[in-house]
Amino acid sequence: MNRLDVFKSVLWTLTGLAVATAITRFIFGLGAVSNLSDSTPWGIWKGFSVVPGIALAAGGFVVTAVIYVLKREEFHQYAKVAVLIAFLGYLSAATALVVELGLPWLVWQPVIYWQFHSALFEVSWCVMLYLGVLLLEFLPVPLEETSWFAGLRRFLTKYKLVLVFLGIMISSLHQSSLGTLFLITPEKLHPLWYSALLPIEFLVSAIAVGPLVVILGVLVICYMYRKEADRKTLSKLAYLGFIVTVIYGLIRFIDLGVCGKLPMIFDGSWQSTVFLIEIALMLVIPIVLLGIRRLRYSQAGLAIACFSAVIGLGLDRANIAGVMLQVPGSHYYPTIYEVFVSLGIVAGAIIVFLFCVEHFKIWDVKWKDPRGNAEYCPRFDLSSDVWLGSPGVTERVKYSLVFVLSFALGFALMPQDRIESKGVEEITVQKARGGDTLFIDGNLDAFGALFDHARHVGILGQKESCVMCHHMNVPLDKESGCWECHSSMYTATDIFRHDWHASPNGANIVCDVCHEPQQERQKASAKECRDCHIDLYADSTADTLDTYLAVSYVDAMHILCVNCHRERAVADTTRAALAQCPTCHTGSQPDYLKAEMADELSRPAPNHVMMPPAVLQVKEE
């Protein structure tokens, strides 16, 4: 096992875990594998994978600008690496988006539904366009390996400058509009990060770190493949990053100073600590290491500076897009599955990167595995027909095995209980507040009705009966209203019983008695009730009935009786105080409840139980 072997195995493991998580997410929804919630709609998939991924891809346009626009030929050897890193950065951001979006199969919709005032509209257009530009910029490299599409390759190589220009223009827009995204959240984003200059800060910091990402990439693969890096040109490139980093630092701190936010840096909150860490990683360490010429030319100094700047930029973007963008009181922390996906996408991108390094001419020659292929040759001596032992396992077989195993492991690790519960929390059931008899007082005016909870539990079937009324809901939405069961009290009733009138056991009258003969038997052709039931109508009643529906019992009492009594009880104290619920609702209660009720009312804070009220269901014929 050499370092490349270990590294690749780790990468394939992470990819396997990520794929397993992604599949679970598509079957069971975002909530099954992530801790995203209504208070934290964007988690590390956007905050770690998408936004920083794009920022770190800035090396592509910065380095190509230096090479092709400013004609600095000494950096030409890094052009392909820079474009490849940018392409993979964008590709991994796009992949993360596919997992992260709620409806990723509609991700192309910004193409048809234009929305010029949305920053995200611009971002999505830039991602699509720049991904295409980067693909065209990189395409000549793999096409070199084949004689096919030679015309296309020549065409792309000839018009490279156009692609470079397009890339720079789209990238500048895109990097800055990522900052624009967060301008709309002045109240949520922590003031140390929020600034009206966010678009400019995003662009400048991306330009600053872009070359450093390319340098880091070069250093890492030089380490992996045991090659010597050209430290002189790398240091020159790093100096460019150094200058822009200084400019970025100035912009950021002058902005903070002008807005009077400088004292917040040292106020001791955890946010200020994170800010200091970010500034140290992103500004202090790179500026110190790259500013001193001797350190800039040393491999360790260069590597540490670039690594620190990359981590710092990632942290800055993650802070703005997630960590510092929180609703007070929400506690988001990513699940291990979210981490799987985020790391797996990075790992996948690195695998593709290594593949390109080994199979395409990223440099003048392809960089093969330093061990060579000797030990993988079939160990069979043709001349002597002697079997020399089984061949070593090929790379392909080995990494496939690693991937499949981790893929299976990923599925085994998926949160079974969370998938089964569909995000529904288990809550402990408490004994009814206020004991066995509840005092229902919807409007909290200390006049209410008693509800014999114990009796209901007894009738409905003890413990198993809870769910018949309680939905184990969020507070204040916990119960079914009384009307859900006692619907007969609440629904309007038909006062005309047609079948009873026609039945031999009832009124036993033939159709013609009510309906005009020779006509269709409808309500319209029927006689009025009063034509037979003269007694039902008081002499003064001139109206005919326009409906056969009578209001429900509850409405009859509460609306017809109570409203009238409420007015009259004021004028005439002998009238029953029907407007006060206990007048009626205790009358039918057993005596022990009356005592409890009096007890309840005498307490300083009566135990009010909220009950959702009935919704009137009147069905006209």
């Binding site: 598509f26 209504d38 626009v69 409806l103 995200l120 509009s177 949520k188 809901n473």
Partner: protein, 252 residues
């Protein structure tokens, strides 16, 4: 014609009629204690809720239908958009699920179907289907105390000010939503402060879409400006190299 809802906190008795009517009208299933909820009663299945505050105060929470809605300005595909009545409605077939609206909303209103493989954004649409046909939303229609009423925004603001003036001392002298974040269509008058409905106690009067508007207007100038600057630099560098070469040749 800008339609609006005015909620008078002093009249609300916390009966939940509006919540029940909302659920019935929009066909929402019963809520469950999901781990993804914020504890304010709103959820993917509850587009309005009653928040209980101390001293018998009930505050109905719902989408504010801002006159310049941050969510609609943030939406990259116009899935959330404003109708001529000032109502912010949602087109589920346009939505790509980016959830930028949830980030942008200053009141934290939009909720998401976290438990579904095909999730949508969920928020109050002020019963647009009813309003379109000249009716009023389900919640205001059922309110037994007229604590929440529906009407033209200008008339409701006038009504709110009339109530405040006629009952001196009863209300806080402010119509919540008249100017906040550029004005909202859902207005409140109250005897308690309603700062808890938004992320900061006193939201600014600047409409949030204006914060990104400047940057968005600069998009095309930036695009071509960067192109022009880069082109100019390229021309300069080329020319300098050419002159240098010519110098060398003439010297040589």
């Amino acid at each position: 014609m800008s339609m609006a809802i005015l909620t008078d906190i002093t009249r609300c008795i916390g009966c939940f009629e509006c919540v029940a009517a909302c659920k019935k009208t929009n066909g929402h299933e019963a809520d469950k204690p999901y781990v993804f909820h914020i504890n304010d009663g709103l959820s993917a299945h509850n587009w309005t809720s009653i928040v209980q505050r101390p001293d018998k105060h009930f505050v109905r929470k719902q989408c504010r239908h801002c006159l310049e809605a941050a969510c609609a300005s943030a939406c990259p595909v116009a899935a959330l958009h404003q109708t001529s009545e000032g109502i912010v409605i949602y087109d589920s077939h346009k939505c790509i699920g980016c959830r930028y609206c949830m980030i942008a909303c200053p009141y934290g209103i939009p909720r998401y179907d976290w438990d579904k493989p095909v999730p949508y954004v969920q928020k109050c649409n002020m019963c647009y289907e009813l309003v379109k046909h000249g009716k009023q939303p389900a919640c205001t229609a059922v309110c037994p105390t007229q604590a929440t009423i529906f009407g033209d925004r200008k008339e409701l603001i006038a009504e709110a000010h009339r109530r405040i003036e006629e009952n001196p001392g009863k209300y806080i002298n402010k119509v919540f939503g008249e100017f906040e974040v550029g004005g909202t269509s859902v207005l409140y008058i109250s005897d308690i402060d309603l700062g808890f409905l938004s992320y900061v106690a006193i939201p600014g009067t600047k409409a949030l879409p204006k914060t990104t508007a400047t940057a968005m207007e600069a998009v095309l100038p930036t695009f071509f400006g960067v192109g022009a600057v880069m082109g100019g630099l390229h021309w300069l560098v080329r020319r300098r190299q050419k002159l240098q070469r010519e110098n060398e040749e003439s010297e040589g």
